[in-house]
Subunit: 423 residues, 2 copies
């Protein structure tokens, strides 16, 4: 019997299942994109590090290394771009796609800027700060795509992995920024108040990201992460960070520490990449599993529903199959299988309702972890609008206000929004 000929109740039950499956398949494509993005971000972080070194020194001997990293990042950016351009923009009418598409538009714009940016780096007409800022913006745009993917995923187990991955990537990106800040401070011989504060802020923000990652990570990811945290590189980076924080104009250190810091920190970031790699694989295997389950469920469901429907057409269940007595709903019927079939249909329907509700609540719980970022973003927007600040300045202002009051960024954001009547 074709689905079309089924009684309407059964058709809608099947449609609910099929809709879940379609959603999962769309999500799987997004997750593949996310794993590619995670590789690209890593390559861009390296390119950013070597661009800084190249621009910081006056030797051409760093050029070959830089070119190598640029080549790797270019190839990955090409992959990501191809995948983006092959997306079917009209496939889904879900409005949740609007935010994703918008973030992708920003990334594509950034890809367009890359050749010019790289040329200007090689011509040494950009300061290390400007080069870093430009690549940091692009990486931020890529992270925003991962964020939207996490925020719009519709399967709780996949959402959990995406929340873990997003927070890990974000923590790793903050680590990359700490590496750059450290290079600047050690190269100068000491950390002024501004660099000092920045190091502290970056270290704290990383900790929060990795905490959220830990809350959502699978046991294996957690083991990998704990091993990394107990490793020599981590201890050595922490030791150098303490040295950094003790420096001042009157107590400088040997600028040669800059190179050591960069190398140790790079080892740490490369080790992080292994955890990220594991999370990316976990993401893809979770997608595959969810799709496999949904397929099997849909097939079982279809067989069961068709059996119910054919009982009806054969007259075994007759009209009562779909018009059971009201009292049948609460108690087993005494007479024959007609009402019992009605009963099993309702059981099936109820089980599906409970499963969907449960998934929805678990989804809400996992998404809560993303709210912190949304509040901070919204407070930044408020500052940008009210004081005509750039995004960077708004971020700085929010951070300053939080630090001067001993608050976390998110709490500062929340109280700012509350004062503005928007919280």
């Amino acid at each position: 019997m074709s689905d079309r000929l089924m009684p309407p109740t059964l058709r809608f039950m099947l449609a609910a299942r099929r809709s879940e499956l379609d959603g999962l398949e769309g999500l799987a494509a997004t997750c593949e994109l996310v794993t590619l993005i995670s590789q690209l971000v890593h390559a861009l972080q390296r390119e950013r590090g070597y661009s800084n070194i190249y621009l910081g020194s006056q030797h051409e001997d760093h050029r070959a290394q830089l070119d190598l990293h640029t080549e790797q990042a270019s190839a990955l950016a090409e992959d990501v771009q191809q995948r983006l351009l092959s997306m079917d923009l009209e496939a889904s009418s879900a409005a949740d796609r609007a935010r994703l598409f918008n973030r992708i538009a920003y990334v594509l714009h950034g890809f367009g800027e890359l050749p010019g940016l790289r040329r200007r780096i090689r011509e040494r007409v950009l300061s290390p700060l400007d080069a870093t800022a430009a690549l940091t913006r692009l990486i931020g745009g890529l992270l925003a795509v991962v964020f939207e993917a996490a925020d719009t995923a519709i399967d709780p187990s996949i959402t959990r992995v995406l929340v873990a991955l997003f927070n890990f990537m974000q923590g790793k990106e903050l680590a990359g920024q700490e590496r750059a800040t450290g290079v600047a401070g050690f190269s100068a011989g000491f950390f002024d108040a501004n660099l000092h504060e920045r190091i502290l802020h970056l270290a704290q923000s990383q900790e929060r990201c990795f905490q959220t990652f830990s809350d959502f990570a699978d046991p294996q990811a957690l083991t990998l992460w704990r091993t990394l945290q107990a490793s020599t590189e981590t201890t050595q980076v922490a030791r150098l960070r303490e040295v950094a924080l003790r420096t001042s104009a009157s107590h400088p250190v040997d600028p040669g520490l800059s190179q050591l810091w960069f190398e140790l920190y790079s080892q740490r970031i490369d080790a992080m990449q292994a955890v990220e790699q594991h999370l990316a694989e976990q993401l893809l295997s979770t997608c595959r599993q969810s799709i496999k389950h949904a397929h099997a469920d849909l097939d079982n469901h279809r067989v069961l529903l068709q059996r119910l429907a054919s009982l009806e057409t054969m007259g075994c269940g007759d009209a009562r199959l779909f018009s059971v007595q009201a009292t049948d709903l609460d108690s087993p019927a005494p007479d024959g299988h007609g009402p019992q079939m009605g009963r099993s249909l309702l059981d099936l329907l109820q089980a599906q309702t409970h499963r969907l509700q449960d998934a929805n609540l678990q989804l809400d719980e996992a998404r809560q972890a993303l709210n912190e970022r949304k509040l901070v973003e919204r407070a930044k927007q408020l500052l940008m609008k009210e004081f005509g600040l750039s995004e960077n300045d708004a971020h700085g202002r929010l951070r300053q206000s939080a630090m001067s009051r001993g608050l976390r960024m998110v709490d500062m954001a929340q109280s700012m929004l509350a004062v503005a009547g928007k919280g």
Copy 2:
């Protein structure tokens, strides 16, 4: 220039807008369904009331009134069913539709039961309690459709109206249940402990629903509601409720009060229908407005983006239009309009990002109001699974536990889930 020929950044920006618009149009269809459902629920509530009266008396003189209400409800159910059956089940691949489809499957099943149920009522082979329970289940199924519509709507202003409407409908349904409970108590001459408790519970639950409605209603709906609350019927119903709560086996009242209670309460419920009608109109006009704005925005956006794109193809902006220098992102370019165009593209993109983020946060806020119901549903499921209870019994058990501890249902649900490690 066709959209296809646009540079990818612009195509994705347009796709984001179009995706929003598509989502709104799908939402508008759901909202029309919701307004039809609100009328149907009202008719079914009347049919339920008159079924009770018919089953409670042994006279056939209530039969004509009952038939009239059945006829009205049947016609509306037919409208709703037609609309449901004409839904395109394959149109959207959003998984959010799964919950909606599942709720609709339940309603369609209930529609199939109606003819048999009505026959059995007329044959007087059902108790008033069973007849009420069957119609209450169907009404609950229809309310669940409205709930899912509210929970999956993607436009904050529409979500707000849906949250107000759902809570109002839910409050009105609880009022209908209180009316029936009162009829049972007054007919018996007094309210035993069970009926007493039930009246109190229904009165409190209504209050919570109408509070949430008030939090989200437009000013006009609020005025209508306050007028109704200050009306004679409301005062008189409240007075009779007090009388009801003072009765006992040793202090009975005249069973004739039953008819008075029913009539006064019915006037009150009919007056509620006017508020609901206003909310339904508000819902449709909000949909129309949102779609109109989104259309206008999309058109403006398309013109603006095409102007940007044609500047590029004409060579005015050249490659730099989409590959602005990194520093252009933070400061106006000194030389010509190329980078300025890049600048306005980024402005546009940023404005769109902020608008989408803002809408998303507002959406989250409005949906929070629906979480209470989700927690209660989940706790009920837990009880059903753990103790093999029916849905009704689980609800009763949860209500009892809450009352005996002086807690609200939602707080009891939350602590139950926490104890079970599922909170």
